[in-house]
């Protein structure tokens, strides 16, 4: 981006000048463009691009914005979406965020995005602006943002760099989200060595609107005005997407010339909060025809996407953009990623009213151009034309790569090295020790140190939040209608089998929604992978996409949107493939939500639903106790997951279930501990006589849940399970008088001791 200065001696590169100087050398490689990509731009334009055009193409054709490596594979989501799945979708992939109809005239929009690379460079601001960006995506659909969730992944919990990255990320998410007034209702915190040089900071936002208020990013209506509003545009975040998100860190120090601000943007949550309220008032007043947020690639992205989705033409007077730095060039203004900005299309007669609403909220707003029918995006700078391009070529017709795909040579060896050879605990003493060790291990320990830094109460509609299986918010105070959201992914399972691993992530998020009593409805995803230039990574990617898409078709819930993040690796080593899956569910009345904590009713029976098998490939036990990763991940049976969900939802609807908790990492033992601690109530567990207690306590077989059933409902509930063909096992009783988890013939552990083990780990590491 330093290109604009030297060669022209400070003069601005206009279209006219570019046409007259075809041989002027341009630093396209430093901007991340390949030779053939640059040649194509020259072809499209019939001349060399101006500096400003080059800046636009380079950011918009970056991996982050153009999906050039993933596009060919992502089409599979569309191909596997049936009409029935599509019926509930009001907007899907390609919009700022997917929108689903949840009934009673309500529409819900949700999406998850990555902010991985900025969060490694500058954890606090990187994570903060990740929250800000996803919230504006939701806002741009016309919805009021309701809640956020943050799936996070870090290097080993005890690594020195994790002590730098994790507290910064958490403080950044909290600092931004809390000040924005959005409850943080869930997410994940996962530790694995593969994330050491490349943490994953994903952010999910969910919002709601009346169905008729849906706003799409269209610049329709010739003569309509283009309004830029929100924060001023500065030098921060320039080239963020092309440099940070699209290449590995090695070699990102290219460029010289004048000093730039860091590529990581700086967030101002107060401005965003005011911007949200301002936007919602503009929507309510009917003053907005189309709207787009300014995120990655800034104005380049917003103007080219708005223009190509509407009548296809737009004229922009770039010198009208309010700036916070002196002497910014057109290229810099177009590619700045300054936060808290939105771009709206407004009817000429409404401009005055639009400006009045913005003034009420002290939001800076400027008319920067208008919709035209020229089919061109034309950007002017003090009377001269600096950009004149067909907008679709910038926004949608970027390069598409068919990257080589190849199953890694060592995949067979990885799968062959199963967990069967690992030494297992067998005596009661060993099992007790294993239980306590597992509960205190970084991936299973309480997330309270993290989640206590997030406001989960603001707006007064949070019904469930961490450590619940899924976060749940009320949308309609009259009827009690609400939504539940969960995100999940076990990267170890995906590493062992990307197709099945992605389905396991889907199954777990689906189950986490269903255990709270909500009906799973739609899926979003954030596909975090290594370098697409590595055929092995592309194989993981291809398999995961296919697994996820096939899984969604089988479950009958559509993928409404998502995000791809490539180049997540340190040097030549890729992260565990991590397709984070978010599932959204709807519940008619949040008063029927099912919590995870046992002991709410006077007498409860504990049932284990589903089948338990000797499955330890990729398990937390193999990881914690043996540092082992190999074999096959647990089997996945989506028909069973669907049945389990139906039973759980029916149990909630008919008031048969007083507590329910998903079984996943750490197996039954972990679920029992969490249910007992959440309910602050002890229980007595009696495993079936003929089973291996180790397998029953620690295996990670999918399709299972622990439920607490009031005695009075037990027969009705078990009859329902039997009638529907869902296996169930009575494994114990809740004992309100007990302050211990008592597993007969295995171990008795006081809840206080369990709590100490479970809650002590993260404070000891990060305080």
């Amino acid at each position: 981006m330093t290109s604009t200065q030297p060669a022209l001696g400070g003069r601005i590169d206009t279209v006219e000048h570019a046409a007259a100087t075809p041989d002027h050398p341009q630093p396209y490689r430093e901007l991340g463009l390949k030779d053939d990509e640059y040649a194509r731009i020259r072809d499209i334009l019939g001349r060399r691009p101006t500096d400003a055009e080059l800046a636009m193409y380079s950011v918009m054709w970056s991996e982050h914005c153009s999906y050039k490596s993933s596009k060919a594979h992502l089409r599979y989501f569309g191909e596997t979406t049936t009409d029935e799945m599509r019926a509930k979708m009001l907007a899907g992939i390609g919009e700022n965020a997917g929108v689903v109809d949840i009934g009673d005239g309500w529409a819900v929009t949700f999406k998850v995005e990555s902010h991985n690379h900025p969060s490694y460079v500058e954890p606090h601001q990187g994570a903060a602006t990740g929250v800000g960006g996803i919230v504006r995506d939701i806002l741009a659909m016309g919805a009021r943002p309701l809640a956020v969730l943050d799936p996070l992944r870090f290097g080993p919990a005890d690594a020195p760099d994790t002590k730098r990255v994790l507290p910064g990320v958490v403080a950044g998410i909290g600092g931004y989200g809390n000040c924005l007034g959005l409850p943080n209702i869930g997410g994940e915190v996962v530790f694995d060595p593969s994330y050491a040089g490349n943490p994953l900071v994903n952010a999910l936002c969910v919002g709601a609107m009346r169905v008729e208020d849906l706003h799409l990013a269209h610049a329709s209506g010739v003569g309509n005005k283009v309004m830029l509003f929100g924060a001023r545009t500065g030098l921060d975040g320039i080239g963020g997407v092309s440099v940070l998100a699209s290449e590995t860190f090695a070699g990102d120090e290219a460029g010289g010339g004048r000093k730039k601000l860091p590529s990581v943007q700086v967030g101002d949550p107060f401005t965003e909060k005011v911007l949200i309220e301002c936007c919602l008032e503009l929507f309510r007043s009917g003053l907005v025809v189309g709207i787009q947020d300014l995120g990655g690639a800034g104005l380049s992205c917003a103007t080219s996407e708005l223009a190509s989705a509407g009548e296809g033409g737009m004229r922009v007077e770039l010198d009208r953009v309010p700036l916070r730095a002196e002497g910014m060039t057109p290229a810099e203004i177009l590619s700045s990623e300054s936060q808290e900005r939105m771009c709206a299309v407004v009817r000429p007669d409404d401009v005055e009213a639009f400006l009045r609403v913005c003034a009420k909220w002290d939001v800076i707003a400027v008319e920067i151009g208008e919709v035209t029918d020229t089919g061109r995006l034309q950007v002017h700078w003090h009377g001269e034309t600096v950009v004149d391009v067909p907008p679709r070529t910038v926004a949608h017709e970027g390069p598409v790569y068919e990257r080589p795909v190849e199953r890694p040579a060592d995949q067979d060896a990885l799968v062959a090295d199963g967990p069967e050879r690992l030494a297992r605990p067998s005596t009661p003493g060993e099992l007790r020790e294993t239980l306590l060790r597992m509960v205190a291990s970084p991936n299973l320990a309480s997330r309270r140190w993290v989640t206590e830094q997030y406001d989960r109460y603001v707006r007064g509609n949070t019904v469930l939040a961490q450590p619940a299986d899924s976060g749940m918010v009320r949308i309609d105070e009259e009827t009690g209608r609400g939504v539940a959201v969960a995100t999940d992914c076990n990267g170890r399972y995906v590493k062992l089998d990307p197709y099945q691993g992605a389905q396991l992530a889907l199954a777990e998020a689906y189950r986490n929604v269903a255990v709270t009593g909500a009906v799973p409805l739609a899926v979003t995803n954030c596909l975090n992978f290594g370098s697409p230039e590595d055929p092995g990574v592309m194989w993981q990617f291809q398999q995961a996409v296919r697994g996820l898409a096939d899984g969604c078709r089988e479950l009958g819930i559509p993928v409404t949107g998502g995000n791809v993040s490539f180049y997540n690796q340190t040097g030549g080593t890729a992260i565990l493939p991590t397709p984070v899956v978010g599932v959204l569910g709807v519940i008619d009345d949040v008063r029927r939500r099912v919590p995870a904590g046992i002991g709410a009713e006077a007498g409860e029976t504990l049932l284990l639903l589903g089948d338990t098998r000797d499955e330890f490939g990729g398990s937390e036990w193999a990881h914690v106790v043996h540092g082992h990763l190999g074999g096959r991940p647990p089997a996945v049976d989506l028909a069973r997951e669907k049945l389990l969900a139906e039973v759980l939802v029916a149990g909630s609807r008919d008031g048969m279930v007083s507590a329910a908790h998903d079984l996943s990492e750490g197996g039954l033992a972990q679920a029992l501990v969490e249910a007992a601690l959440a309910g602050q109530t002890g229980c007595r567990v009696v495993l079936p006589a003929d089973v291996d207690p180790f397998v029953w306590l620690f295996a990670e077989s999918a399709g299972r849940a622990l439920v607490a059933i009031p005695r009075s409902e037990e027969l009705r509930f078990t009859d329902m399970c039997s009638a529907r063909g869902l296996p169930w096992t009575r494994i114990g009783v809740v004992d309100p008088a007990s302050k211990a988890l008592e597993i007969q013939d295995v171990a008795t552990v006081d809840l206080a001791e369990l709590r100490a083990a479970w809650e002590g780990t993260l404070p000891a590491l990060f305080d």
Partner: protein, 236 residues
């Protein structure tokens, strides 16, 4: 005729809709007050809700005290109008001089959001008559700058006059006891909330408006504050 209770919105206020909901839930009428209007719209009492007024980039509440609406609140409070400041509202009341002392950054330096046990130390303020003296209530606490501080003379005065209204109950929650947390934020004398000399202006860091329904909060223990002021207003 029911009471009309004003809820102020500054740019950056977050818990205004929660405060309004709490007012509605006791069958009083919430009245939206805008920071830029020097007009209390004839309300009978005022709530200054939580959030980050004007972003709180300078010092929590330091800019909000200069808002036109606050000039009117201070004037009305001096005449005896009941005023409740919650979290950022408490900080604003301290900055405005309606309450003594200040709120500084939590001892742990982190934002803290948790369900917190409080003891009602004074049930004679206009906002606390519905509670039994010494009652223990469970209310969310969520802030970055929640550590109450004051000079020794002020503390003596507050304690001597019984103007400490709420205190953090540090033994009430087993999980906190285990963590060895003496107080959630290091507040002097574990002070969570205080009153003015007449018991009509109350400020507290925890959020009673988030504890009006066990569905969305840890309890409905916060309702008592809104019922209390309603009693006083209806009786007046």
């Amino acid at each position: 005729m029911t009471a009309r209770i004003g809820v102020i919105t500054f740019p950056g206020t977050l818990d205004d809709i929660d405060a309004a909901r709490a007012v509605r839930s006791v069958d009083a009428e919430p009245v939206a007050l805008w920071h830029a209007d020097a007009d209390l719209r004839g309300v009978d009492a005022v709530i200054v809700p939580g959030g980050f007024s004007y972003g709180d980039y300078l010092r929590a509440g330091a800019i909000a005290r200069f808002a036109p609406v606050m000039t009117e609140v201070v004037r009305a409070a001096r005449r005896g109008m009941p005023v409740l400041g919650i979290c950022n509202g408490f900080q604003i009341l301290c900055e405005s001089g309606l309450l003594p002392g200040a709120l500084v950054r939590n001892a742990g330096l982190h934002f803290v959001c948790r369900d917190q046990w409080l003891r009602v130390e004074n049930n004679e303020t206009v906002w606390t008559t519905r509670y039994d003296a010494g009652a223990e209530i469970l209310v969310p606490l969520k802030n970055m700058e929640g550590r109450y501080v004051a000079d020794p003379a002020t503390l003596d005065e507050l304690e001597g006059e019984g103007r400490v209204v709420f205190r953090y109950l540090v033994d009430g929650d087993a999980s906190q006891r285990y963590l060895g947390i003496d107080s959630p934020n290091g507040a002097l004398n574990h002070i969570a909330g205080i009153a003015d000399a007449r018991g009509r202006v109350v400020g507290l860091m925890p959020h009673p408006e988030h504890a009006i329904d066990a569905l969305t909060g840890p309890s409905d223990d916060g309702l008592g504050m809104f019922l209390s002021v309603l009693d006083a207003l209806v009786a007046a």
